[in-house]
């Protein structure tokens, strides 16, 4: 056959909770009231944590901080679908996922205050710390998924990254390995439409990010990233598929970064207020609250209690953060190698002397 269609592909999108807070029953993932309210509490907690981070930064108590506002649904939906035994590999805009996985909020503040101890993930958590160089953690996630498969562990891996990350070679090489070796991994792209000031249209000419999976021979899907039920459903299905040995999935969460890129950024330089306002109307928290009101008669009192509780937890975390003893400069040598070689011991000695001198000078 001289000219023929060899293959056909399609990319689907998923939305369960619409912008008015109504759900599509046919697609309902079977969550109960407690779980749903748990989602809401989690989203409020993340927002509260985030607002506090911005405050702390303004007060000079954090360095740079990357706000997650607007993306809470992708984080809660994903985290809820994961098992504790699964592994996650975040980028730098997933404090929500990390908090829900059990990372003390104190540590996230610590990290952004410029303290490595914020990345010393507790032993019982299979989570990688923040990865700054965009996209570079994707192959790590793939390696962990491969290792899990190698060992026969019933574990799946999720990795998070932004729309910008899809342009980097690491994205390509990572997804390609995952496809070839059919690894138990879910690639969760938080398409928040901006990579600092660079809009999605400058990142790729493809109509969706989900369709990039076609290049790697596995499935990609675009979900409404401001719909926690859609995210939850897609991530859960993909994790289960992964654990069944049926390979990877790319999930594009269609969402928006409501804040500046980081506290070092001023987004008004490059994007229109109307665009942001339009997306504010789709705020995932507002949307879920509308659902709770409609479905469970969510009251002002419940709302207040939820916010109150979030404030208290965050306040406690800030207190912990501020009670941490100062970072020890010598630590830069302590975890460089399992055993410090002689020349480095001498360098450490030199640092110790510098610290000593400083102390003496007062």
């Amino acid at each position: 056959m001289p000219k023929k269609v060899l293959h056909e592909f399609k990319v689907e999108s998923l939305q369960i909770l619409d912008e008015a807070g109504r759900v599509d029953r046919a697609l309902w993932p079977g969550l109960d009231e407690k779980e749903i309210k748990g989602f809401y509490e989690a989203m409020v907690l993340i927002r509260t944590f985030d607002e506090k981070a911005l405050n702390l930064q303004r007060e000079g108590r954090l360095g740079t901080y990357a706000s997650v506002q607007g993306q809470e649904a992708t984080q809660v939906g994903s985290a809820a679908a994961l098992r504790p035994s699964d592994w996650i590999f975040p980028a730098f805009r997933e404090p929500g996922v990390s908090i829900l996985r059990g990372l003390p909020m104190r540590m996230i503040y610590q990290y952004w205050s410029g303290d490595e101890r914020g990345s010393a993930i507790p032993e019982d958590q299979h989570d990688f710390p923040i990865a700054i160089p965009v996209g570079t953690h994707i192959p790590h996630a793939v390696g962990a998924a491969w290792a899990a498969k190698f060992k026969g562990d019933p574990v799946a891996v999720a990795t998070f990254f932004g729309d910008g990350a899809t342009s980097k070679g690491d994205f390509h090489e990572g997804l390609n390995f995952a496809g070839v070796f059919r690894l138990p991994i879910v690639f969760i792209c938080q398409n928040n439409h901006w990579a600092i000031s660079v809009p999605l249209s400058r990142q790729t000419a493809s109509a969706t990010l989900a369709q990039k999976a076609i290049a790697y021979g596995f499935e990609g899907i675009q979900v409404d990233g401001n719909d926690v039920f859609a995210v939850y459903t897609a991530v859960k299905n993909s994790l289960e598929k992964a654990r069944r040995g049926e390979g990877p999935t790319l999930i594009e969460c269609f969402t928006y970064r409501l804040s500046d890129h980081t506290t070092a950024d001023d987004a008004s330089r490059y994007r229109k207020a109307e665009e942001v306002a339009g997306w504010r109307k789709k705020d995932p928290i507002v949307r879920l609250r509308a659902f709770l009101e409609r479905e469970y008669g969510w009251s002002e009192a419940e709302e207040r209690a939820t916010r109150q509780q979030a404030q208290e937890r965050v306040a406690a975390a800030v207190h912990e953060f501020e009670s941490v003893p100062p970072a020890d400069p010598e630590a830069m040598f302590d975890t460089l190698f399992a055993t410090l070689p002689p020349d480095l011991l001498r360098q450490k000695e030199r640092l110790r002397k510098r610290l000593q001198d400083e102390k003496e000078k007062g």
Partner: protein, 325 residues
């Protein structure tokens, strides 16, 4: 003349050269409407349009690779990599291609690109934002490496780098981007590559530095002057090709050398300078050469980075050690 900081001086140099050279194209992440994360390219897109000031996809290797092709075709690409720590993704393009295109093709194709990137610590930034691995590029034959230390220097050296017919890595000391203002000549102002400058003359010890580190070094020299020690201070300006002659000349006079850089010590630029001195000026050396450098560890996060970076005290101590030997 206008009083500018380094950011403004570089901006002025880019603007000047873009006006002269219609084939000069700027590429990088966030260099358009945002003006670059350090605002170095601020306003250029308004003057020269999105055709010549191009926000690219997030791919450092792609940016450098594409620039190589552009340069071979006949454009003059000046690339901004957001931070030096993100330049590692482009190492293969730089080492295997940019540095070799002329050699490989016996001169048929050349690669007149400039890769600008902020570098160095002390800006309280997250991990990977405080790198100073200039030695990688010095160790790569076919690349030139330039580091300005003041606004006027930045302008003059950048114009030379852009006009240089070979690939130049132009490292901008982020810590002093806005720390110093000085008179910068308007219009044409070119400082030839490959020539170090003597910033302060002295006969007792030679202090060798560049970029941000020049400033604590100058302070150290001042402090020593109070104690009657006359330090000669050399600003390297171009790390590759290194101005060996200038260094030798000074150390042959002073007999003592202290080399300052914030990069890790082992196989850093200081090693090369020490080795050259040891090869060619051994008999002039009246004291061991002292390197004041970062440790052989990754530079820590902001809370403790100050203990990683050389400071005035350490430079003074090292110089006194050399002088007192």
């Amino acid at each position: 003349m206008s009083k500018l900081n380094i950011v403004q001086a570089i901006n002025q140099a880019l603007r000047h050269e873009m006006e002269k050279n219609p084939d000069l194209i700027l590429m990088g992440e966030d260099i358009g409407p945002d003006g670059g994360v350090f605002r170095v390219t601020e306003g250029l897109i308004d003057t020269f349009g999105a055709r010549r000031v191009v926000d690219t996809p997030l791919s450092e290797s792609g940016i450098v690779g594409v620039a190589i092709g552009m340069a071979a075709y006949g454009l003059t690409p000046v690339v901004e990599i957001q931070f030096m720590g993100f330049l590692y993704a482009a190492m293969e393009q730089l080492i295997s291609h940019a540095a070799r295109l002329r050699t490989r093709t016996r001169g048929r194709y050349t690669c007149p690109i400039v890769v600008r990137t902020p570098y160095g610590g002390g800006i309280h930034a997250p991990e990977h934002h405080s790198e100073s691995t200039e030695a990688f590029f010095v160790h790569t034959p076919g690349l030139k490496v330039v580091v300005p230390s003041t606004p006027a220097e930045a302008k003059g050296l950048l114009l030379a780098a852009i006009r240089d017919p070979d690939p130049v890595i132009f490292l901008e000391p982020a810590k002093i981007y806005r720390a110093i203002k000085e008179e910068v000549p308007d219009g044409e102002y070119v400082i030839p590559l490959g020539e170090a400058r003597v910033v302060a003359e002295g006969k007792d010890v030679t202090l060798i530095a560049c970029g941000a580190m020049l400033h604590p070094t100058l302070k150290a020299a001042d402090q020593m002057a109070e104690k009657g020690i006359e330090a000669e201070v050399i600003d390297l300006r171009t790390l590759s090709p290194l101005d060996s002659a200038a260094i030798l000349r000074s150390v042959e006079k002073t007999g003592r050398a202290v080399i300052i850089h914030e990069a890790p010590r082992s196989c850093g630029l200081g090693a090369e300078i020490a080795a050259r001195l040891c090869e060619e000026a051994l008999l002039s050396l009246e004291a061991p050469i002292v390197r004041v450098t970062g440790f052989d560890t990754p530079i820590p996060l902001p809370k403790t980075e100050k203990y990683y970076l050389p400071d005035v005290d350490q430079i003074v101590e090292a110089a006194e050690q050399a002088v007192g030997f």
